[in-house]
Symmetry: C2
């Protein structure tokens, strides 16, 4: 190891930071299908979206031909405060696993939001400010997105209104206080601030809320308040575009040392971190410049890729959003409670769904307890305490490295370590105490949810 | 800012990482006074210390003539997993304060322990392992030290037994779970595992414990268990030696860009982070090579420098440890509850105490609410959520930068950002809700504690 040329951590210099985001759609032969208006079933226009989203973000959302978007200087300056994120060579994990594989991970947790979410939050806040808006609304479940957006809005002096799922608001007071520190206002959802919130409270007194409900409240608030728009932390193509900074930095760092990945692994909830990590590598694969395997890892409790349908569906449970063609379990599907809140989403980004349908990307579903086995192994040898979501990728990276031990192959494995688990210790406690369960939906449950998919000609 | 040559963050390359720790005592004209045996009042010998501490750590503790200690390769490899720590130029804070000062901070929070504590934890675990020991014992209050030691012991496959102050054990379950994740066993203190614990429980049924009691339990456990030794996270000179990595990295980074600090600021509890940060700069000042002001910042609720006596005192409340000559409030002094648990210590590292007595370093005491004002300002413009302890340094850095705004001086201000506040959100909540108080000891309280200082001829 002493003579090894690759350092433990590769940090790019400031001048090596990407100046552009990469729009993978521009290089795809089969483009992702367009968003449809939920009433007319016609492709969404800029006008359709203007009341909810910022103008420049709509441009980014709908553009599937422009390969590069320049990163505005103001966003670049913010990126410099917490980026580059290190590309880490997992020497200690390799040694522990006794594998000939070379394992790398891109670590996105070294900022106060604790995850990659900040990459898109700052972009969305910037465009809102540039458009002269007063503020933005959003929802948050586990709280990483809400934290990231609070930080971004604080930086650009923009009002930030977060609807936080009521049970999270009560169970995760520390997440709430981080957001307050950055000046955001946090409302437990459902609330009496919106019509949809009041309606739900009347129908289900005492409900502890859901992400679907919080989305509906945030959208209503934005569309009814002058100078406000709604922003979202995953699923959308604009978010995947901003997250391409993860993959671009990773590729620059790897190119610098002449490293080529054989396998790239990422966890997938709405798909933004995975899409961002793989974007430039997938672009190269499509152009025939790279031979590489791509693996999406999802929870067995919410298996959008491996057991979902590739169909048009609503992006929210309340069925008010546009329709997206995606791998979906049905917008009515309620995943079992799990400790990877960030992966409990019924659908998947439409670009990634298309890549999966075209056989360019694989997917694996893993059990929660096996994920925590991997998380604890990783923490003990590599130091960093991973988020439960990120640990899905660790699980499969370890599995692949162990296969290499069997076959003797010296594969180069790259995975995305999207965040830290500091606010997930309740989950670790359950794991340590042997009280964590593995819930998998039955075929009947899925068929029931599929039956409610919208009919699109 | 676009033409500025200094990047937002300076990361050293792996080959630029320090290969040696720096022992400031070797270059001091007035050496710190030796530790004394509490019974004979004679200088502690290696034999006196051998039952409690590891052999090589005793060498480091007692050596005030060797300027450099080589960092063993095994420790260096662990350092590479989370170091170098970035030296950050606080461009956004400067702009926000409209100051001509140039502000830099060395950020030690980018690791799972959340603080600089890991720098010494890994060294102490290494020497314990090298000596063939089975495990180590320690105490923890706020939990940063316990977390760091758990991580270090996990890496070297060493047993780790942590006595955690009972009220922290109950109020900070997440800290406890992080330690469990790294395989440590955590006992709420006082416990029935030790004689001293049983005695205290009998005398004070229902007590929620104190750091002094937890130290006594950890020391007893180590000295009565074959193959175990006791380790400590601050105060000792060996800890300050290991923490010199902070200052050495900072100096290398500054030298690379031709930057010379005019003021160096750090928070001070036991003194290890401050001592580590200033060590090489103070060495240069003593040699006449650098003209620089050094400021220790302590809580007004526990003002060891600014209102303490420079005298021999016990290092623990139970009065079983050796005597150290230091700035002390008296080992019987109980600071008011505050949210900077890491700074609630009655004494101060003896090297720093000597520097203060010799006029080489200044000190300021600050109020808790003013510290949180600074913490929130900092978080909102610089992104990172600081630990309450670290925010003491931020407070004075901001004060100094504002003075520069008045005078027009373009001073270069360097401060230590020792850690993050993720596990301190209860304190932030109190601050946001306006429920935080400022408690300052009365002169009578201090006189009462001073009266119990041991009489040393």
């Amino acid at each position: 190891m002493a003579n090894e040329q690759i350092p433990y951590k590769i940090y790019l210099d400031e001048q090596e930071l990407p100046k552009y985001w990469y729009n993978l759609r521009a290089d795809m032969k089969n483009k992702p299908a367009p968003l449809l208006n939920p009433v007319t079933h016609r492709p969404m226009t800029k006008q359709d979206l203007a009341g909810v989203f910022c103008e420049e973000l709509i441009e980014q959302e709908l553009d599937d031909t422009t390969p590069y978007f320049a990163i505005p200087e103001e966003i670049g300056n913010f990126y410099k405060m917490y980026r580059p994120a290190p590309l880490v060579r997992a020497y200690c994990l390799e040694k522990y696993l006794q594998t000939p594989a070379k394992i790398y991970y891109k670590f996105e947790g070294n900022n106060t939001s604790g995850s990659h979410k900040l990459n898109s939050a700052i972009a969305q806040a910037y465009y809102a400010k540039k458009q002269g808006l007063l503020g933005v609304t959003t929802e948050t479940g586990a709280g990483q997105w809400g934290t990231a957006l609070s930080m971004a809005c604080s930086y650009f002096d923009l009002d930030c209104k977060v609807y936080m799922v009521k049970c999270s608001y009560e169970q995760k007071p520390f997440r709430r206080e981080v957001m307050r520190t950055y000046g955001a206002s946090i409302t437990p959802s459902p609330s009496t601030e919106t019509e949809v919130g009041k309606k739900i409270l009347a129908e289900h007194p005492g409900t502890t809320g859901s992400l679907g409900c919080a989305i509906s409240e945030a959208v209503e608030k934005a569309s009814k308040t002058e100078g406000y728009r709604y922003v979202l932390g995953s699923v959308l193509n604009q978010v995947m575009l901003h997250q391409s900074i993860i993959g671009l930095e990773t590729k620059t760092a790897m190119d610098k040392y002449g490293i080529k990945p054989d396998v790239i692994i990422g966890c997938a909830g709405g798909g933004s971190n995975l899409g961002g990590l793989i974007a430039p590598f997938m672009g190269d694969r499509i152009k025939g410049k790279l031979d590489c395997q791509f693996i999406a890892v999802e929870p067995a409790s919410c298996p959008s890729f491996t057991r979902g349908k590739f169909a048009y569906d609503y992006c929210d449970t309340g069925m008010v959003t546009p329709l997206a063609k995606m791998c979906t379990l049905g917008s009515g599907f309620i995943p079992a409670p799990s400790h990877s809140g960030g992966l409990r989403y019924h659908g998947m980004n439409s670009t990634l769904s298309q890549l999966y349908a075209d056989g360019l990307m694989e997917a694996r579903a893993v059990l929660q307890t096996e994920v925590f086995d991997a998380a604890v192994q990783f923490a003990r040898v590599e130091g960093t305490l991973p988020a439960p979501e990120s640990s899905h990728a660790i699980r499969v990276a370890i599995d692949e490295a162990l296969k290499c031990r069997e076959t003797g192959e010296e594969k180069t494995i790259l995975f995305g370590l999207t965040g830290t688990g500091y606010f997930d210790m309740y989950a670790y406690e359950k794991y340590h105490d042997g009280k964590m369960s593995d819930d998998i939906p039955t075929d009947e449950e899925l068929e029931k949810a599929f039956a409610k998919l919208p009919h699109v000609e």
